[in-house]
Subunit: 144 residues, 2 copies
Amino acid sequence: MDKIDYKILNFLKEDADITNAALADKVYLSPSSCLRRVQKLKSQGVIKKTVAIIDEKVLGRNLQAIVEVDFDRHGTSSSAPFNERVKNEISVTKAYGITGESDALLFLSLVDMQEYEQVCERLFNNDKNVIRFRTSFVMKRIKD
Amino acid sequence: MDKIDYKILNFLKEDADITNAALADKVYLSPSSCLRRVQKLKSQGVIKKTVAIIDEKVLGRNLQAIVEVDFDRHGTSSSAPFNERVKNEISVTKAYGITGESDALLFLSLVDMQEYEQVCERLFNNDKNVIRFRTSFVMKRIKD
DNA sequence: TTCTTTTATGCAATAATATTGCATGGACAA
DNA sequence: TTGTCCATGCAATATTATTGCATAAAAGAA
């Protein structure tokens, strides 16, 4: 992990479609050396994977919501079932256990309000360990 | 945008490293047809770009924070300078204008607490339109 | 320092993959 | 039916990725 590796990561982080030859140019290496570095970074898990960024409007999930959740009990065993349900919920794109006022924060990428209602039912209303939740909807994307 | 296109998107969303031939197999098309669909989706902007997912630990940004921000005034002209600063702040990975209790929600990917302090200084403490902010730190990644 | 070992590099050959031209066939409208 | 349009598959071609190998640089060991 030297300076060149970081350069490579910073380029691929923004555009993984770039050809190896073009990337090699940018970091002043031969294509073969460059490729071997990229392969190494992948095998080491530094580059986890590469994904296509899809226009969410096209996928019909243009309603973004952020939900703060308060739990009754906070132990691992108490929140495990909740975490499982969260993982299986397609509309939940991100979920974190957090410090501060609330205990968890969820990101929802929804088709419409009807789906929101259904997700709430499954995740929050049916879970006795969830004592409260507060939802904010995304109006404007400042940075994404 | 038919069923096959959606299939393609769903595969590339998870793994853009897949070869065109392998993708073609999965959607039961010939490589050439499949490729032409992918190219079309890219030119249409349905596929915005493809990026490498980097292990954040390696990049030294392993401290994740979520900041809710309250503004004094909410008009476009009032929040424009804030939005500009947010865009220029490397550690801010996502930022949204939201409904509900707070006005904006920021995602920070930080090196350490010192950087957090500096970012707060630049974004919040020096902005008269920011009347309050509340930070939560990510303890556990339930889904990411 | 000097010698040895390891690791990274570039070049050139090769393999794999993407890309294009073209002919065919299906869907649809007149 | 007939014609047009568009997607498809095949095969040829162009790009790109990958590997072997010799050399050079870097990292240790004595």
